[in-house]
């Protein structure tokens, strides 16, 4: 219980710091929402009037305090550019980004675990060599570029999906997932390569452990030794990596959403930054930070499941 209380306190503190930093960043960088809203032709008097109306002339701390107070009540403010409640704007974008991240994560787990074990089992075999080389190549390709390649190969050549033809999850779940598979693959590919490589190394080093010899001495075959004994031990460093990868993917899906024309948090975040639409940016960043911290917390719990030697204090 103490552990959870401590984690919760950490979560709140992190969110405060992150949101304040975003506030600070917008105070420092050039650009003004009032000008952005009215255009460059607007008279200084009108700009000033709008600034006053939006409360932008108040000191930074005061604005931040007001924002926090509203946020706690569930009011994330009103978008400067779209004149609608931020909550409403991002409510149906969050599931899209979450689905994208979840599918990517699923792909990483189901592909890299068997692949890593196979590589380790047939170390220095032809398959292992092919996978190791392919891994090096895939690791070096950033997701936005693999996204373009996937669009070209699977979309334009093989016609497996229509590039840009996003289907909302509200319309058709199956077609939504079918479309999302491809951006998710683009995000997952480099992580699959890294995770495979990490698991391969981890399995190989665990295979030298004494408990493996004990397992063989009880009549286990190599397959049973790998899956029943080695895998759980070898997963410990991989869980660390997957936790970091997952956090990275929540934040990193922004770019791939652009490539595949997916209306997730990423697209709205980019538009809002260029429009100096503070309330929207602020809300999205806090949401992403919250997700990242939540994921880290879940990873901590997962650690405990994988490795009983870890105590939660």
């Amino acid at each position: 219980m103490k552990y959870f209380a401590k984690k919760l306190a950490g979560l709140i503190a992190t969110l405060l710091v992150v949101s304040f930093l975003v506030f600070l960043a917008f105070a420092v960088i050039p650009g003004d929402p009032a000008t952005a809203m009215l255009g460059t032709e607007a008279t200084p008097a009108r700009v000033e009037a709008l600034r006053e109306e939006l409360g932008l002339n108040a000191p930074l701390i005061e604005r931040y305090a007001k924002w926090i107070a509203d946020f706690v009540r569930g009011d994330m403010g009103t978008s400067y550019s779209y004149h609608m409640a931020v909550t409403e704007m991002i409510a149906d974008k969050i599931p899209v980004t979450l689905a994208l991240t979840a599918i990517s994560f699923f792909l990483i787990v189901v592909i890299s675990i068997p692949l890593g074990i196979t590589c380790a089992r047939y170390m220095d075999g032809a398959l292992d060599h092919i996978i190791v080389v392919a891994n090096q190549v895939i690791m070096a390709v950033p997701p936005f570029f693999s996204g373009i390649l996937i669009t070209l190969v699977f979309g334009l050549v093989l016609h497996l999906f229509t590039p840009g033809g996003y289907v909302s999850y509200r319309t058709d779940w199956a077609r939504f997932l079918g479309y999302m598979f491809f951006p998710a693959l683009a995000i997952a590919l480099p992580k699959i390569a890294m995770s495979t490589k990490l698991l391969r190394t981890s399995v190989l080093s665990e295979m030298k452990a004494d408990y493996v010899r004990t397992a063989y001495s009880r009549g286990n075959g190599t397959r049973a030794v790998l899956y029943r004994h080695v895998l759980k031990n070898a997963l410990i460093p991989v869980v660390t990596f997957l936790g970091m990868a997952l956090s990275d993917m929540v934040a990193g899906s922004i770019i791939v959403e652009q490539v595949f024309n997916v209306p997730g948090l990423g697209r709205i975040l980019l538009t809002s930054i260029s429009n100096r639409d503070y309330p929207v940016v602020q809300a999205i960043i806090v949401c992403i930070a919250f997700l990242v911290i939540l994921i880290n917390f879940l990873v901590d719990l997962l650690y405990k499941l994988v490795d009983p030697r870890i105590t939660m204090e």
């Binding site: 010899r213 004990t214 397992a215 001495s217 009880r218 009549g219 286990n220 759980k232 031990n233 009983p308």
Partner: protein
């Protein structure tokens, strides 16, 4: 029961092949305790691993025969070897701290050989037998140990768990590779006592590997002395300790700390006379 004939183990992981065991011969009767003694690097652990079927390195050549109840373990199919491992031939190791899988509870690890070799036994019965086995190796609160993780137990307790796991299928041969080396002296004595009792009650033959001659003397009926991969001397405890033929054996015996020698002398009343002569030679 066990006949090792002309066993040669050769590593081919360098340009020049390296032989680690030369022409090793051993005969063991059911229920017998044989000690295999030698300094580090003498090839005793390699021999033990070969007998247990645990040397499967591709860069290694094994010649000779290891006949277990007439079946040659060096040439039999892997599936045949696996059906013996953990069932008829069990092994315990030097490092109780790392020989158990750290991420699983003790229970499933003790039961594992039973699960593999007697799949007909249901879960409850397996658990009952495992807890009984943990009690048999003198672990207090066996139910609690059953649910514990290895890191929650001391080294001595873990070695007892290893012994319980090895004994769960009632093997005919238990290979103990330096099982007491990593333990402190009082725990060593307890483990030796336990092995002796297992041998007496369950008639399990034990191949006890150690570099500690005083332990071998307490436990074994026969001893094989190895040096540089070869057998230099073998015979009954009384023969080898009483009148060692080889200078190497004499030196090993001379290296036993003196107070233990007195204790050992008291223990083997029968051969006290001849043993005294042998030990004094070394001093």
């Amino acid at each position: 029961m066990l006949d090792v004939i002309d066993l040669n183990l050769e590593f081919h992981d360098h340009l020049v092949p390296e032989t680690v065991v030369y022409d090793f011969d051993l005969h063991m009767e059911p229920g017998e305790i044989v000690g295999l003694v030698g300094e580090s690097g003498s090839g005793k652990s390699m021999t033990a691993l070969a007998i247990a079927g645990l040397l499967s390195r591709h860069d290694m050549q094994k010649r000779g025969k290891i006949l277990f109840e007439g079946q040659d373990l060096l040439t039999c199919r892997r599936s045949e070897l696996r059906s013996l491992q953990g069932d008829d031939i069990a092994m315990i190791f030097q490092e109780p701290m790392t020989s158990l899988n750290p991420v699983y509870r003790i229970g499933p690890q003790v039961e594992e050989a039973l699960r593999i070799h007697s799949p007909g036994i249901d879960k409850e019965e397996r658990k009952r037998r495992a807890i009984q086995m943990l009690a048999d190796v003198d672990l207090e609160e066996p139910e609690r140990v059953y649910d514990a993780y290895p890191h929650q137990l001391s080294g001595g307790m873990r070695q007892r768990v290893m012994i319980a796991a090895a004994m769960i299928c009632g093997p005919k041969l238990l290979i103990a590779d330096e099982p007491t080396t990593a333990l402190d002296v009082t725990v060593q004595a307890q483990i030796v006592k336990l092995l002796k009792r297992i041998n007496r009650e369950k008639k399990t033959a034990i191949l006890f590997i150690s570099h500690d001659l005083s332990l071998i003397r307490q436990l074994c009926q026969r001893v094989v002395v190895m040096q540089g991969g070869r057998i230099v001397e073998s015979g009954s405890i009384e023969e080898v300790y009483g009148s060692p033929r080889m200078e190497y054996t004499q030196k090993l015996i001379a290296a036993i700390p003196r107070c233990e020698k007195k204790y050992a002398r008291r223990q083997s009343g029968k051969s006290a006379q001849s043993a005294k002569g042998g030990m004094q030679d070394g001093r």
